[in-house]
Symmetry: C2
């Protein structure tokens, strides 16, 4: 859509840089860019800590970053980078059936970063925060040469009576995924996606959903965390929902799907489950892709996942 | 104490580097290094989010990083860097009269970082977390070239019936600081300090303590946030408690004191207050250093703070 390089985060003109602005002007500007989604101190930015109301029940907490050169480049609009930072954390919350309550942001940047880039980043973050109802209550800005990275810590609570973890699937449970898989980077899905908060909350209310997680490093890798000990995931290749022009390997190993994968109890009436889903989410596909079977059992026509590696960090 | 450069965080031998280990081995190792201070999933590392118990009352949240080249260098032991990361966040909590409940850590590192350095860092963090009773419930590890940075988000609650903010000082209130000021970098105080949690909790229980904060950028700069509008801080130079061989300018402008500064109501019996403090904290000095006066009032023998600038970030 946009030519690569058109959202360059480093200032051509030194006067536009973070270093030229300095800390006081920058912090005051950030408050303005965040606007009403950033409460007044002590409930938001401006004191040693932010004060949050007591939680209504058990809480959820997660932290994920966006880093220039890893999670975005100059081809991604700065507004979308800010939104992506919040949305990838919301996806983790969705994966447990949670809803957000507050977020804090730690920014690490080179002094050459362009303040106009930063304004768009914060405005994009604020717009997403307003959309999903997440107050941005605190933050920190620190300088480091050659870096542009932001880390967001998200707090939440269970949206319903229960939190769904990665543990709980059993042999015979069927494996389901939301949406379509693969090609996230090429398609721009990696920053345009909508976190599956409503879907995750709905799934957490179904007692037959036994375990759930979100897909960030590809189904082949991520599924290991959902697979009960002594079992393996027998996936049906033809069943895998894919983005256009995405092959099997990419559907299984591309990162940043930000979809949900969950285990449905073997006894469940799957047709009734799928109908209930379609009524609740007519625009979000859900697909049965396989079953957990004994690790030593061969199932004709299913994929050997050990042949596929997901995204491996730090390599 | 230790020769500069002896705690080099980048691996001489590539086999010892984060890149050689890869994500899976590193994450498993981190769990081992953190040990019992890192609860099992879903209450700690290992699911999409960590599950925390409901809070007993209003909560406090803060985030602060340590960055190689800014907050530490190869002269600081890796264990001390891990401890410092937690302690600087605890200092923010102390400044409001809080006590910690949980922390999450976001690490951003170059793949050349030495895994033995990282082990010491995490062991130092874990030791400090055990000492101060802070479960490390979650985290993220991400790769970025040329970077070694860690950002910790700390959750807490009020230790007593009230939280003390930066707002609330009035004209005539006296200004007090804990400990001694200045020379933090040269003396190693910047990583050897003990956060003033007990002191902050005690001060929050004194109704006459009207406003409080911790000192990170030097008293001259930080005091602005405590000074009521239309007033200025009249400080008595001779009263300033200093580390050995620290002059007035350094006492006022050096960063990373990690001491508390607070405003005590004008009507308070200061001698009785100082006696009560000494009984509670016989080993921590507390010193009256000045008074808030009308902005246009000149007080003979007091310092003109506008002549001193604290640590300015991003420049």
């Amino acid at each position: 859509m946009t030519p690569a390089g058109s959202f360059e985060p480093f200032a051509k003109n030194a006067a536009d840089s973070v270093g030229a602005w300095g800390e006081s002007r920058l912090i005051a500007s950030i408050r303005g860019w965040l606007g009403s989604i950033s409460p007044r101190a002590p409930f938001g930015i401006g004191d040693d800590c932010a004060v949050l109301p007591a939680s209504a029940g058990p809480q959820l907490i997660t932290v994920d970053p966006v880093i220039f050169g890893r999670h975005f480049d100059a081809g991604v609009p700065a507004r979308a980078v800010g939104a992506k930072l919040l949305k990838r954390n919301l996806s983790d919350l969705a994966a447990m059936g949670g809803q957000p309550t507050a977020a804090v942001l730690a920014l690490t940047l080179d002094r050459r970063v362009d303040c106009r880039w930063l304004e768009s980043f914060y405005r994009g973050l604020a717009a997403a925060a307003r959309k999903f109802g997440v107050p941005i209550v605190g933050g920190d800005v620190a300088q480091a040469d050659g870096v542009l990275a932001a880390s967001l810590t998200l707090l939440g609570t269970a949206a319903g009576p229960r939190v769904v973890t990665r543990t709980g699937a059993r042999r015979g449970d069927t494996i389901w995924v939301t949406g379509v898989l693969g090609g996230s980077l090429a398609s721009g899905h990696h920053y345009r996606f909508t976190p599956r908060l409503a879907e995750g909350a709905w799934l957490a209310r179904q007692p037959d959903v036994r375990a759930m997680m979100d897909l960030s490093d590809g189904l082949a890798k991520d599924l290991h965390a959902l697979t009960p000990r002594g079992n393996r995931a027998a996936l049906v290749e033809a069943a895998l929902p894919r983005r256009r022009r995405v092959g099997t390997a990419a559907a299984l190993t591309d990162g940043e799907d930000y979809e949900l994968v969950f285990a449905l109890a073997a006894k469940t009436d799957r047709a009734a489950f799928a109908r209930a889903w379609d009524r609740a989410f007519p625009r979000t596909p859900v697909t049965e892709v396989g079953t957990f079977v004994a690790a030593d059992r061969t199932v004709p026509g299913t994929l050997d996942l050990s042949a596929y590696q997901g995204y491996e960090h730090l390599r």
